[in-house]
Amino acid sequence: MNTMGRAARWPIYVCSLTALLLSAVPLPHWLDLVRPDFLLLVLIWFAVMLPRSGGLLFAWLCGLALDSFRGQILGENALAFVAVAYLAHRFHLRMRMFPLTHQSLVVFLLLAVYQFLLFWIDGVTGHPLNDWTRSLPAITGALLWPAVTGLLGRFASRA
């Protein structure tokens, strides 16, 4: 792996931009409720598989971008992204060893941490939304993880 030196940066940029666009594509309401957090999935994948391509700063910037994209309080997604990216970076070697279903489970935990942080920040800033549908994106995100690994693995290996 050291022979690669610095990993190419453009795959992560392309994937994050695509994920950012996917997070806003108009969908019917019921699909919108279960829309997974694409950007975070991409960030987790790169943190686990190619940890040198995007650091925490990149995750933070992605969070800020999503905040401004969605018109939320600036810093909300940024904080949650950094926290999740930190966990993913921290445990990336362990996660690589896991079988795919096990990985999905860990990803579910990471996405749940993300949703919890958002929920908590929403509560502190006075927009509490305690709807059970909030947890759905974490579940769909975890279910989508095998597809994400397959797609991104193929894409990034060509880079």
């Binding site: 666009l21 806003a24 108009p26 925490l56 800020l64 600036l74 810093g75 940024a78 950094v82 926290a83």
Partner: protein, 309 residues
């Protein structure tokens, strides 16, 4: 906390050694940004800049929908277009007739208000904005419209559609701004029952077809099918615009407050185009009839967006 002990430190170069430290710094930075954004609203310039960057992306996201709409309208059959044209002509004639009467009534109203020495109503100007088909948070009722500071849009400005009050602007970017709908759970609008002038507040419920009126006492004089209009208190919404129609009144003898719901007049989940309103306070006793000046921002302190219980 073991900031420096990495599980893979033996064979991965120590590039990520200070990972925890960096995470802490970035989290602290996010908290700082949030506090400044939430408490002081001082990041408006940065927000505007960021949304100027985001706007082309948002346009890109909705481009397939826009292309589909364009295709379906350009492939519409001649007979459908003719029928639509006919219907619009009929509508237009009816509206013209109504407008003639309205103008006379408005003149009369102004004269009567002068006689009463009542404060004249605010003048309004409006601009049409179309809703961008971009999904924001699914649990919050917000939409993005294609007007921003470059069109003179300000924060807390009333937005209506052709049936009634739609919402108000919250975050304003250069080219696009976010509108909070009436039905957003954090939105409240001061209203009046048209029949008897009873004032209360209509609060969003998170359901686009229902508003709640939680502050009416059990014996309040409201009935199903009463029309609700804006009361003009709070300074964001002009008085007299339709807000909704009472759809349900439940009076539980053991409760001090009645459970009242209303159905919003505006097509909150269907509208494609909305109008942004600018209010211009009229000077009482004008020396000469003032032409509507350039859009002025609504007084910020009178914002009635955040609901406080």
């Amino acid at each position: 906390m073991s900031l420096l002990r990495e599980p893979g430190a033996r064979y991965a170069p120590p590039r990520v050694s200070a990972l925890g430290l960096r995470a802490l710094i970035l989290i602290a930075a996010s908290i700082g940004v949030m506090v400044v954004d939430h408490r002081q609203h001082e990041l408006t310039a940065i927000r505007t800049a960021l949304s100027a960057v985001a706007y082309p992306l948002q346009v890109l996201v909705q481009s397939p929908v826009a292309a589909w709409n364009w295709m379906s309208s350009s492939l519409a059959t001649r007979s459908a277009l003719m029928a639509e044209n006919e219907a619009l002509k009929t509508d237009n004639r009816d509206n013209d007739l109504r407008l003639l009467r309205l103008e006379a009534i408005e003149q009369e109203n102004r004269r009567l208000r002068d006689l009463l020495n009542a404060a004249p109503r605010d003048a309004e100007t409006s601009k049409v904005a179309s809703i961008l088909r971009v999904d924001l948070d699914p649990l919050r009722h917000r939409v993005l419209v294609d007007r921003g500071t470059s069109d003179g849009v300000t924060r807390a400005q009333a937005v209506i559609d052709s049936h009634g009050i739609f919402g108000q602007t919250s975050n304003v970017g250069l080219k696009a701004s976010e509108v909070i709908l009436l039905s957003d759970p954090t939105h409240a609008v001061p209203v009046q029952v048209e029949r008897n002038g009873l004032r209360t507040i209509a609060v969003g419920t998170g359901d686009a077809r229902r508003l709640a009126l939680p502050y009416l006492p059990r014996n309040a004089d409201v009935r199903v099918d009463d029309r609700l209009v804006t009361s003009g208190l709070g300074g964001v919404f002009p008085a007299g615009y339709p807000v909704g129609r009472i759809s349900e009144v439940k009076r539980d003898p053991s409760q001090p407050l009645a459970t009242v719901s209303a159905e919003p007049a505006a097509a909150l989940d269907r509208a494609r185009e909305v109008m942004l309103l600018w209010l211009h306070p009229r000077v009482p006793m004008p020396a000469s009839e003032p032409a509507p000046p350039a859009p002025t921002p609504a007084p910020d302190k009178a914002r009635d967006k955040p609901r406080s219980r």
